[in-house]
Amino acid sequence: MRVDPRARGAVRYSVDADMPGQLHAALVRSTVAHGVVRGIDVSGVAPGVTVLLPEDVADLPLYGCQIADQAVLAERPRHAGDVVAAVAAPTPAAARAAARAVVVEVDELPAVFDALDAAREEAPLLHEGLSVSDNDAAYFGIRPVAGTNICHRFRIRHGDVEAGFAAADVVVEGTFRTPAAAHVPMEPHATVARFTEDGRLEVVTGTQTPFNMRMELAAMFGLDEEDVRIVVPPMGGSFGAKTFTRQEGIVAALARKTGRPVKLVLGRSEEFLTLNRHPSIVHVRLGATRTGDLVAKAVTCWADTGAYADCGPGVAQKMGFAAPGPYRIPNCWVDAHAVYTNTPPNGAFRGYGAMQSIWASERTMDLLAARLGTGPLELRRRNLLRDGDAYATGEAMHGTCFEELLDRAAAAVGYEHDPAGKGLCLVMKGMQTPSRASIAIEREGDGYVIRCATTEMGQGARRSLALLAAERLGCRPEQIRVPDPDTDRVPYDTRTTSSRSTFMMAGALAEACEALLEDGRRGHGTIVNDGGLDPDTGQGVASTHWHQAAGAAHLEVDEETGRVRLHRVHCAVYAGRVVNAPGAALQNEGSMTMGLGTALFESVDFNEGQVTNANLSDYNVPTARDAAALTHELVEREGAPIHGLGETALPPVPAAIGNALASLGIELYDLPMTPERVLEAIDRRAAPSPEPDLEARRR
């Protein structure tokens, strides 16, 4: 009998990975948000400890998956928590003690913490001269704005937006903010690395992007890509946190200096300094005719990418092309920016910019409905995209089912019966386009083994692949083994992100299974999805297909305390075809629960660039009690392609709850919707709606 190792505590994660003779690392971090290191005093460090200093990595080039802007160790720390030195010692405790004994002297530089402040011409610059990375994650025409902190700007130009607003009978606008958020995978980042005797670099680490990391580490250490090996054990969650190169460069540099394997496990508080979700400021202006037809929309998005770009340009772009929303709008302009600030870097986070944009746009739909005196459900029904409609990117929509999703979500809370205390949200989210997936399958004993770079982080990728292969090959899923991704053994894949893997790998796997049935021993399959957008006009193909969902919330508010009591939050999510029913349900439930945290609790808070709640006492994620009101359903279509489900049910939750509050006259513009903010909005209820922050419209 094969017993699931998870139920026995028998999974070996990266935190459990060891290499013989390994040393343990700890990091020395800057306490100032922006400065220049003047000196590092290591005289207090115990003997037998190796300290990695900036001069040890002076030969290593800058790295970064989209913009090469980050040094392995920061001689000029750009956020409080930036790593300026590292130590390797025989035990983790000795390493931590040694890291504390390193004294770093830093001359402070002026710092900037807010995206709008940072985008001003007179703002202190974080980086002088930006070079786009030579990495396949930098594929979409990155447009840094020279002499500013803006590391990418993306535009959609669809129709004539000013003529559209001139023709509108009603125009509403608002400025919406979302905070930094922490991914909080239960397993922190962990890496063990060594250089082998023949000069290869071997890295065991939790990452969703093994091939991007291989490319980046090879460039960093001047190796051929084939001489870097990335092995990825199952991750104890990731949600975007374990993408591209994080601590791996430092661990490898320590291994190079010591000549020994080196292991690093981050502490929970360090997680908050490593990678967070982009805070956003989104300004939306939306115009419609008296009868409720949308005629013009202008959106300006500011994605605060923190001290280093990471994939911030990509997040800003996705925020931008999610901004039109799933509606027919003949005139739509979007300006999206990724901006540096002196805060920890922000990167991929379940939803990848879409949530921020959807929060702003779907709240604005309800502002418009209120102004028109029409119902939020009717307004959405009237304007939603149907097959054959053109999206703002010019691509023709296909496989749409927004109306069915909306109706199902609305029905779940009895919206049409009585909309009081209820809110809706409609979601359309893209999938990584373009990308490439390859997979190999071989006979092994009386079964098969799949060689594939899709990483396992709890989403059930291996189970889905085994189920799909079993269906093709006419065997039991248990006869199929899917070992840990190892770049020495698996074919290339773009990365395990954007809910693309089940769809893309299913395509490649179908081809591989066919080839295997022909060959008898092995088969190989590759699938490519083409597309991409012109960054200056936003025209092209944003997504091979679209992830679609609708959310509905029903709640009441304790007006004395501002506490929100949820009766129900429901999501209807389009799956195309479900591969693994229990896994699909879990993806929805987990996404919704994370969306609930985003809606009501979660914010990484700062004071002058210092994180003030870098622990799970002060940073609150939802518990079993909070999640009791969440329900969901999956919508399938006969013969439809598989749609990934990793993220789609997150973005509907905040806006559905926000719109439910709006139905009670409690208008919120900023996340999370804490009791304090709800009380403030209750106080504002009698007053006219606030002036939108026009500063956010500046381009």
């Binding site: 190792p5 935190v15 629960t593 622990n615």
Partner: protein, 169 residues
Amino acid sequence: MSASVPVRLTVNGTEHELQVEPRLLLVHLIRDRLGLTGTHVGCDTSNCGACTLHVDGEAVKSCTVLAVQADGATVKTIEGMANGDALHPLQEAFWNDHGLQCGYCTPGMIMAAADLLARNPDPSEDEIRHGLEGNLCRCTGYQNIVKAVKDAAGELRAAQAQPVTQEVV
């Protein structure tokens, strides 16, 4: 570095005598000295519950217990829950009901649930949610975890109700 001190404890039925630093946490003794890596560390501040195990039959968060505090104690970890190949009903239920995704919180969740069921063999859904509030799961959304605990409770009650065959001398 402080001098080491002796600690004797029984873990999953096996007696151990170790020399430890007084500051060593129980979770590190379990993971690093005994190699029982099913007990996980998630937060360092006793919020997440990934390190939950049983000391003398009660669930504790082993990241906030010193190893020396467990001197003389009987400790049970996730590795001690199954009886050979026979999984504990909670392990069965977490597996059958899909109460797990990445599996990192699962051992702590199962140990906390076992403690809950020992104190309340027939908890309501609300009591289960309340009882597991100290254990965080970032993947599943908790619905199947709650279902698993409810199902395991039923299994355990049914097993209790079975007449016990006694050997008659």
